[in-house]
């Protein structure tokens, strides 16, 4: 049997398909997916709203604290310095998160529509989790900036309540401990996700990529 004969046999399926489809259930599946998509779209919108509210909130908080301190005439050089560093850290942190989010979206869009592009796109979705390591300067910078914001807010919060500098610095240390606990929990969750889901998927996709070029 040559290729033409095989193609003839293959095409016989078009007249007599191997299976049928229950159209009613198919509609149900599509409605389910549509509802899921809408819910996911709403979640993404909330993420953007929360990120924007977080950025604006930080700035308003710093401004309010500074005005309050000025009103009470308790401002010193340290208060100014901490506020400026905290505000700069908050702005840089927000910008880095936004730029990272945009860069990832653009990278995923840059792939074409072939099978190989699809595999590369899937790999690009896993990449941000691979990059989540202490060896990566961006991750370290985000952590440091996060500490900076938490520390500055704690410090100024203490000063607004007329606490002496010693107590204000103690608040900073407390803020850092809470941040470390938070980072520990997120790190544990990411490692678990990586081990159970992403690492096997990445290996499978890389093996697929090799198959494309295999001769």
């Amino acid at each position: 049997m040559n290729l033409e004969d095989l193609m003839e046999v293959w095409r016989s399926q078009d007249a007599a398909p191997l299976q049928g489809v229950n159209e009613t259930l198919l509609r149900l599946a599509l409605r389910q997916d549509e509802a899921k998509q809408q819910a996911s779209g709403r979640r993404a919108m909330w993420f953007v709203y929360i990120a924007m509210a977080f950025t604006v909130g930080q700035m308003v908080l710093f401004l309010a604290i500074m005005l309050e301190l000025q009103y009470r005439e308790v401002l010193s050089g340290w208060d100014y310095a901490v506020a400026v560093v905290g505000l700069a850290a908050a702005l840089t942190l927000s910008r880095m998160i936004y730029v990272g989010y945009r860069a990832q979206a653009l990278r995923e869009q840059s792939f074409g529509e072939s099978l190989r592009d699809q595999v590369n796109r899937q790999l690009a979705r896993i990449d941000p989790f691979v990059r989540f390591s202490w060896a990566n300067w961006k991750v370290v910078a985000i952590m440091v900036l996060g500490f900076g914001v938490a520390a500055a807010i704690s410090f100024l919060g203490a000063r607004i309540n007329h606490k002496p500098y010693e107590e204000a610095w103690l608040m900073v240390r407390g803020g850092i401990v809470y941040s470390l606990i938070g980072i520990g929990i997120v790190g544990w969750w990411l490692r678990r996700l990586w081990r159970r889901d992403l690492a096997p998927r990445k290996r499978r996709l890389e093996a697929l990529l090799k198959e494309f070029d295999a001769e």
Binding site: W10, Q13, A16, L25, S114, R116, Q118
Partner: protein, 168 residues
């Protein structure tokens, strides 16, 4: 695009080309539950792709592209569940059995395709459905010469199997 327009296009695609979906599903999934899961995934991706279709390729090429893209990175529902990832709720009874008994020659072809590697399976399906080397290269994302190499390997595997089975 209006929902009614999208519905109309999707219905046209599905009624005209669902054979392509069955072929891809049978080449990449081997249990009934898995086939149902993969079929549902593919149909959903095609539904989502209606807005993105720009008529730069033919509808069958587009459907093949979306179906193969889904199938090649598809993971069995059971595997996803074991890794703690909630799979899409599969609608039971989505796929029904055909009234006529399947052609044994078609079944033989599927058995041979199942033994190929994932990328080669895509090439085999496109080849059997009459796509040119150039079209296969564009859909898969490899060079035409690589398509040629893969096709000659697939052909010799099929011929070898036929010869082996013809031996008394």
């Amino acid at each position: 695009m209006l929902d009614s327009e999208r519905d109309r296009i999707f219905n046209e695609w599905l009624s005209g080309h669902k054979g392509i979906l069955f072929k891809v599903v049978h080449a990449y999934a081997f249990e009934h539950a898995d086939r149902q899961d993969l079929f549902q995934e593919i149909v959903i991706q095609i539904w989502r792709s209606v807005d993105a279709f720009r008529a730069e390729s033919s509808v069958p090429t587009w459907i093949y592209r979306v179906a193969l893209n889904t199938a090649i990175t598809w993971t069995r529902k059971e595997d996803r569940h074991q890794r703690g990832k909630q799979p899409l709720a599969v609608v039971e009874g989505l796929l029904t059995t055909a009234s006529a008994a399947p052609d044994p020659r078609v079944e033989w072809l599927y058995q041979q395709i199942a033994q190929l590697k994932d990328v080669d399976r895509s090439v085999a399906l496109l080849l059997l459905d009459g796509f040119s080397y150039k079209e296969i290269a564009a859909i898969v994302g490899i060079t035409e010469s690589n398509v040629g190499v893969k096709i000659s390997r697939i052909k010799s595997a099929l011929a070898g199997k036929r010869a082996e089975e013809a031996k008394p």
